[in-house]
Amino acid sequence: MAEPYRTHAAGPQLIGRTVIYTLLILFALYYLMPLFVMVTTSLKTLDDIRAGNLLALPAQIGFDAWVKAWGTACTGVYCGGLKGNFMNSVSFVVPAVIISTLIGAFNGYVLTMWRFKGSDMLFTGLLIGCFIPFQVVLLPMAQTLGWLGIANSIPGLIFVHVVYGLAFTTLFFRNFYVTVPAELTKAARIDGAGFFTIFWRIILPLSPPIIVVCVIWQFTQIWNDFLFGVVFSSGQRQPITVALNNLVNTTTGVKEYNVDMAAAIIAAIPTLFVYVVAGKYFLRGLTAGAVKG
């Protein structure tokens, strides 16, 4: 809708606009508040925290908490900070995103341009996989990973995230390729192009928009995951989300809130960065996932 609803008198309209902007700004502050609190707390010393309050700015800006969170904080038995876990996350998130996106692209291509009897039904069956609560696969998967010899390992995490990410990536690509005219494939077939040639030469060059959406979505989902991380890994193999949770929940000694906050920010930086840089694709990913067939 392009037009705001105007009454004809300017007075009420002005009041109306003021109310609207005030509300919007209040909400914006409400949403920014936790981020602000996290950042400021991480820059304070423990004394500063106890002396001041949530919204107070740090008396002195200090990065000690950050250094500790990264390099020496205790996440359970091990006290080497989050850097190892950060690397863990990177080492399984990147392959998982790439593999699940690639397979999803091929699946979407087949489901839209090379339909065969029952392919739509197969798609629906796949789609239902998006909805299940993962609790119902945890126990069998733990067993299976053990049998395959990849329990508590990076390849194991990659495997799990690819398998359960396929439904989403396929959905993204399939919904995108549906908008590509089928006649393009027909013309290519008449020209003599085969299955892979059409994908490589014609479909893939059209795909950057959806590839970006898919990669951003998958990256965010997999990096932020906790459930698979906590069930399928332990100790130093854990992803950063699990390590963060451990760090924050340690009951020994003094609670170092500034370190907790610094650690939380470290865990959040990659996905926040992606969001800031490519936010509109993130939004497209969310709404594409919600508009299900």
Partner: protein
């Protein structure tokens, strides 16, 4: 090859299909194959596996001899499970309500041709980029009785302000509501905004010509035409609520005690910490059935609508 063609059945050449053609027909199925096998085994197969486990007396190690509904009986005799269910009801309904109402409000406000709309929108939406663990950690700090929000308000002058929400068993679940709603409202707002933008201008103009005022237009035209968005949001929010695990673990750890337990944390605790695989499997199956109870009617009505629409 005989080039001439008569209309009265002259001999014609009939080339055979080549191997290449057979391969071409098979290729799509081969490509889709791995994904389908994954879905078959790792989704449907595993569901059946878990279901089987829920019918056994597995504890530390899985056993596969059928033991009937003993785990389900134990489940519903377990106080903690009932608390988890009750919490799911409270959390789910408040979470969904808050997200829908606030999301709709923000969308309507943003739709009023606001300057810096894009900027504001990205502020409301950024929490979705965070892990629930990060959100839980942050809100845990904010709701900290001694040093968080309570302390802040006291410092502002209200010396007797008390806000022990997160550490009181009776109210710990509401902390989860607050944190969860903070995270997910932006998403609902985005959906509603897209829905609002999709409303045909002409209908609004016709109503204005008819003399309807802004409130009337919203109530009678805009909000009813957002029904599909309401439903998708409802489904997605319900889904998030039922699966909520990360948030609780980071925010309250399920506590104090198990006062803020949800079915997902119950399942994790019993299956992996308390070595009660059978009970955990039963609780997982209950979660699945709850989700299906929400999803299946939606899919049914969607396909119904598509067939008739």
């Amino acid at each position: 090859m005989n080039p001439s063609l008569g209309s009265s059945g002259q001999a014609l050449v009939r080339p055979r299909r080549g191997i290449a053609d057979y391969v071409e027909t098979a290729l799509p199925k081969v490509v889709l194959g791995p994904t389908l096998i994954c879905a078959l085994i790792f989704v449907y197969g595993f569901i059946l596996w878990t279901a089987w486990l829920s019918f056994t007396e597995s504890r530390i190690l899985p056993r596969y001899d059928f033991a009937g509904l003993v785990q389900y009986v134990a489940l519903f005799a377990n106080d903690r499970w009932w608390i988890a269910l009750k919490n799911l009801g409270i959390f789910g309904s408040l979470f969904i309500l808050f997200c829908l109402a606030t999301g709709l409000l923000l969308a309507i406000l943003l739709d009023q041709r606001i300057r810096a709309e894009g900027f504001l929108r990205s502020i409301y939406l950024y929490p979705m980029a965070l892990s629930f663990i990060v959100t839980g950690t942050a809100w845990r700090w904010i709701l900290n009785p001694g040093l968080g929000f309570e302390h802040l308000v006291r410092q502002l002058g209200f010396e007797h302000f008390e806000f022990p929400l997160i550490v009181e068993p009776k109210t710990s679940i509401y902390a989860v509501v607050i944190a969860g709603a903070w995270q997910s409202t932006g998403f609902v707002m985005a959906l509603f905004l897209a829905g609002l933008r999709g409303i045909d201008d002409a209908i609004i103009k016709a109503a204005q010509v008819d003399g309807a005022g802004p409130i009337r237009i919203y109530a009678s035209i805009v909000i009813p035409s957002l029904r599909p968005v309401f439903f998708s949001s409802l489904i997605i929010l319900a889904h998030i609520a039922i699966k909520s695990f990360d948030l609780v673990m980071a925010l309250t750890g399920g506590g104090p005690g198990f006062s803020s337990d949800l079915p997902a944390t119950f399942m994790y605790t019993f299956a992996f910490n308390r070595n009660q695989i059978g009970l955990g499997a039963a609780s997982a199956m209950m979660m699945l059935m709850t989700v299906m109870a929400v999803i299946i009617p939606m899919i049914y009505s969607e396909t119904r609508r598509q067939r008739h629409g």
